[in-house]
Symmetry: C2
Subunit: 309 residues, 2 copies
Amino acid sequence: MIDRLIEKIRKTGAPIVVGLDPKLDYVPGHIQKKAFDEYGETLEGAAEAIWQYNKGIVDAVYDLIPAVKPQIAMYEQFGIPGLIAFKKTVDYCKEKDLVVIGDIKRGDIGSTSESYAIGHLGKTGVGSASFAGFDEDFATVNPYLGSDGVKPFVKVCISDNKGIFVLVKTSNPSSGEFQDRIVDGKPLYELVGEKVTEWGSECIGKNGYSAVGAVVGATYPEQGKILRKVMPKSFILVPGYGAQGGKGADLVHFFNEDGLGAIINSSRGIIAAYKQEQYASYGEAGYADASRAAVLDMKDDIEKALASV
Amino acid sequence: MIDRLIEKIRKTGAPIVVGLDPKLDYVPGHIQKKAFDEYGETLEGAAEAIWQYNKGIVDAVYDLIPAVKPQIAMYEQFGIPGLIAFKKTVDYCKEKDLVVIGDIKRGDIGSTSESYAIGHLGKTGVGSASFAGFDEDFATVNPYLGSDGVKPFVKVCISDNKGIFVLVKTSNPSSGEFQDRIVDGKPLYELVGEKVTEWGSECIGKNGYSAVGAVVGATYPEQGKILRKVMPKSFILVPGYGAQGGKGADLVHFFNEDGLGAIINSSRGIIAAYKQEQYASYGEAGYADASRAAVLDMKDDIEKALASV
């Protein structure tokens, strides 16, 4: 799957992932109205609204980008109807030939991580049959429980040709509280990065990158520079560009010399572009076109930053 | 909610939580057959089988225990139908007046943790209405992202009278890989424990315990002893008893001198008791009675251990 992601990045020329993290506030009034008219102001109505909103964005940008990253929390907050909208979104993006990164941040003790891994990336046995539960292409994984919480995901990456991104240095303001603490002369995130390299050593694809990648926030470019060297064969999924404050110039150190090795996520900055002054002229009705314009601008920003190195 | 948990522990005399972590392998043949006859060998069939299995166990033990802890991964592996079975289980246990601890181990950046918190413990706004997504009483939370990933859960604990258990020292073999690393002369789990005390300081209930508890594995009694002192006002949810190797005698240090402060989880050891030699005479048909016998034996084991201090 990492090779497929790389091929898609090469084809689109855009190391960009669009974060499908819908909030009801982002959904234009006419879409909300239609959903609520049909399902009422209910969880089902909210789920229908975010699904239709997602669909509009995906239809407008799918030819420009290699991948999307739906954040499952935004769906899970609407209970079962929300998770049905998540699954619909995953399936629809795959139909559109997009690589789907499930931002699920799961992680547990070994036997439980195995259930998450097969539920999101693999197949679950039922009697003599087997079924995929959510069937994303990649998932994000929390490493706090150590190797036996991560390895079941790696196993499924190998058996089902999928991939993961392990949280190493997250983009949020308080990520340093534990991740930056010094252990044996190095920050904890560096130790986790070393483990990512170890966990991924048995699943290197034909382009030289591992199925085991890492999450490092765009908001921490200095740490990105170090981690790029600690995990030379891991793709880095970089959240925090745009709305969280990361800029194009901050991103250069996340890439390897081959121009690969990183994929930059923007969520709000793309999906709610029409709410920004820069794209306000598109209006609510043109929200999806505003998202397309924002993707093109982001692509341009990253290209310029990489060209200036 | 922590006060309600304490009242239930006092009433039942059992600081015990039953982990509803069903695997299809545990479900007796007659229950599987009935579910598959009705829904086929499908995700829906599997979900029906685990729901009926859970219901049998809950009916057999609900009067003996204060709380249950469904592990959402075991349901999530069956996709949407599995999550519907999770929700049914949560609702049914609440009907039976059990405190429900959702073992969800969620945790993300601030705005995303907020969605998880309202989805599992709070209410989500939809137009002029608001709805609970999953509505557990407690949830387990992963602290790797630091304070801004945990505080949205604390906020919902206060606004909606709920509670959380933050992962501090997990029960699995590799938990030490990061959690035991020495930072400023102390293991990381101790720093996390200190944060648990801080996060929980604004939501102390009338019995003197905070709505912010901690997870510390029964498999690490020495660490439990230290953490008991670091987090004097936090309830400790203790997994790892029974099948994972924790014994009654290992548990005494997790409790405070008031005889409170800990609640011990057993999953497989209770719900799949009929598969153990000790309870084999109950047979598949008597699986729920075997679970009841295992709860009574566990209660006895803990009582003896606490009495011997």
